[in-house]
């Protein structure tokens, strides 16, 4: 007995050495089992993903509360539940309840989504007008359309974690429902906490999608030359395009540089594979300069508080035909 007790520390050490390499011994049957499972899954049509609300530890109230707390916002709990309820889910519930003969009315998020959408549009328009003072209204409209588009809003709401909380008929939820839910959340926030908090929410999640993006990309201009001449005609100036540089004229990789001069002072330059392309790019650069959105513009300010007030002084009116 004493002999065993004397050698216990050595035995323990021996055992411990075997236990340090934990992750390496995987049983021989693991790989074939997993392969067989995958084969059976594929036969039945692929891996099935179940929503989190079918798991045992799902607590919708807790999830809604946590959602609000995560965003540091105070939501009215009924409004939030209403915001997450989709029309398809309400229809499904009503059908189920008809069979079971009891009546719990669930409100869907349509009205909240409409309120939210109007608010988002108005606020984004306001914000963009303040932050890009010289950009024409058509361009702002295009940027706004991009920011309120289904894919962008669906992406935002997916990353906010609404995918598992949304009450909808099918899983996984499609983009339209995700976008709708986001608008409904904004509507709910508007009703619960007021305009300023909702404005900050939209600013922090939607408008920041513009970070690092070239704002001119969202507004495709078909004929920059005519647009430029029209704008400068109002100020009574004529543009003189001149070929400033060229390289490898007769080759496939020819490069031309065209400069636009107004009153013998340079306005912008553009490069291109042919003279026409270079002239068009020079016109585009000139337009960017006029609208204040060149490559080296100051980054968009994402920290304007409250509802900003734009002053529409130096904005160019591109006449909508």
């Amino acid at each position: 007995m004493a002999l065993v007790r004397r050698f216990v520390p050595f035995l323990a050490k021996a055992v411990r050495i075997q236990q340090t390499t934990q992750a390496q011994k995987i049983h021989r049957w693991v790989a074939p089992t997993l392969m067989e499972l995958k084969r059976r899954e594929d036969k039945l049509g692929g891996k099935k993903y179940y929503p989190r609300n079918t798991f045992l530890d799902w607590n919708l109230e807790a999830e809604l509360y946590a959602f609000g707390q995560r965003l540091n916002e105070e939501f009215d709990s009924d409004l939030l539940l209403q915001a997450f309820t989709d029309r398809s889910y309400v229809i499904k519930e009503e059908m189920k309840q008809k069979e079971m003969d009891f009546d719990i009315k669930m409100k869907d998020n349509k009205e909240l989504a409409d309120i939210g959408e109007n608010f988002i549009r108005a606020y984004i328009q306001n914000y963009l007008e303040t932050v890009l003072p010289k950009f024409p209204l058509e361009g702002l409209k295009c940027i706004r359309n991009h920011l309120t588009s289904e894919s962008v809003l669906a992406n935002i709401s997916l990353h906010l974690g609404t995918k598992d909380i949304i009450l909808a008929a099918e899983y996984p939820v499609d983009n339209f429902i995700l976008a709708n839910t986001f608008k409904a959340i904004v509507g709910a926030l508007l009703d619960s906490s007021g305009e300023e908090r909702a404005a900050h929410f939209v600013r922090d999640f939607v408008i920041t999608q513009l970070q690092g993006q070239d704002v001119n990309e969202y507004w495709p201009i078909e004929d920059p030359w005519t647009m430029l001449t029209d704008i400068l005609k109002k100020d009574g100036a004529t543009i003189e395009p001149r070929l400033i540089g060229e390289a490898g004229k007769n080759t496939l990789l020819a490069c031309y540089r065209v400069g636009l001069y107004v009153d013998k002072k340079i306005l912008s330059t553009g490069f291109g594979e042919s003279v026409a392309v270079a002239k068009e790019m020079a016109a585009r650069e000139a337009l960017k300069k006029i609208f204040g959105t060149e490559d080296h513009m100051k980054p968009i300010n994402f920290q304007l508080d409250g509802i900003p007030k734009p002053n529409s002084q130096s904005r160019y009116q591109i006449s909508a035909s």
């Binding site: 540089g245 390289a247 490898g248 007769n250 990789l253 490069c255 490069f271 650069e285």
Partner: protein, 178 residues
């Protein structure tokens, strides 16, 4: 990629056509300068894997000036690949046969012996005289400065200028020049 970015990249990597007048220049020194432009080592955006070299057009390659005795003594080796196909050609013989070869070989030798060398050499155009094809000349947009100063020959200066040029001293009339 937006149009502006695409056009910016096109302009950054555009290939410039340079012209170099080899008149009275040492081919091996000028080869060092030419190879820099051919490989793209004159650009801050250089990368060996990126084909960032420019085109160089050499003119007047028959007026090239080798140092010292080299015209008589420098020999160029050539092997046809067949047995007994080795030949050593002297510089003046080679120059008579093909006036562009000396500068071409000089540039080829100045580059590192890697697989890109032959490809880069294709960017070099050498003409023996002043005549350059019109489309090639139209592409050229830069001239590389010569290394050695090329003075104007006395017989190329008009006679009135030489006669009326102010003199510091002159020999007396009855002085006999040997």
């Amino acid at each position: 990629m937006s149009a502006a970015k695409r056009v910016q990249q096109w302009a950054t990597f555009a290939r410039t056509w340079h012209i170099f007048d080899c008149k009275w220049q040492d081919p091996y020194d000028s080869a060092n300068v030419i190879k820099k432009y051919l490989m793209g080592l004159h650009k801050p955006i250089y990368h060996p894997m990126n084909d960032s070299g420019d085109v160089v057009v050499c003119i007047n390659s028959k007026e090239i000036a080798l140092r010292g005795d080299e015209w008589r003594k420098r020999a160029y080796f050539h092997h046809t690949g067949y047995p007994g196909g080795a030949s050593w050609t002297l510089a003046w013989e080679l120059h008579n046969k093909d006036p562009t070869l000396i500068i071409k070989k000089a540039v080829y030798r100045s580059m590192k012996g890697n697989l890109q060398r032959r490809h880069t050499m294709q960017r070099l155009f050498i003409y023996p005289g002043e005549e350059v094809p019109h489309d090639v000349m139209q592409n050229v947009t830069n001239q590389i400065r010569q290394l050695r100063f090329v003075p104007t020959r006395l017989d190329h200066i008009p006679e009135e200028v030489t006669k009326t040029y102010p003199k510091v001293m002159d020999f007396p009339e009855d002085y006999v020049l040997k």
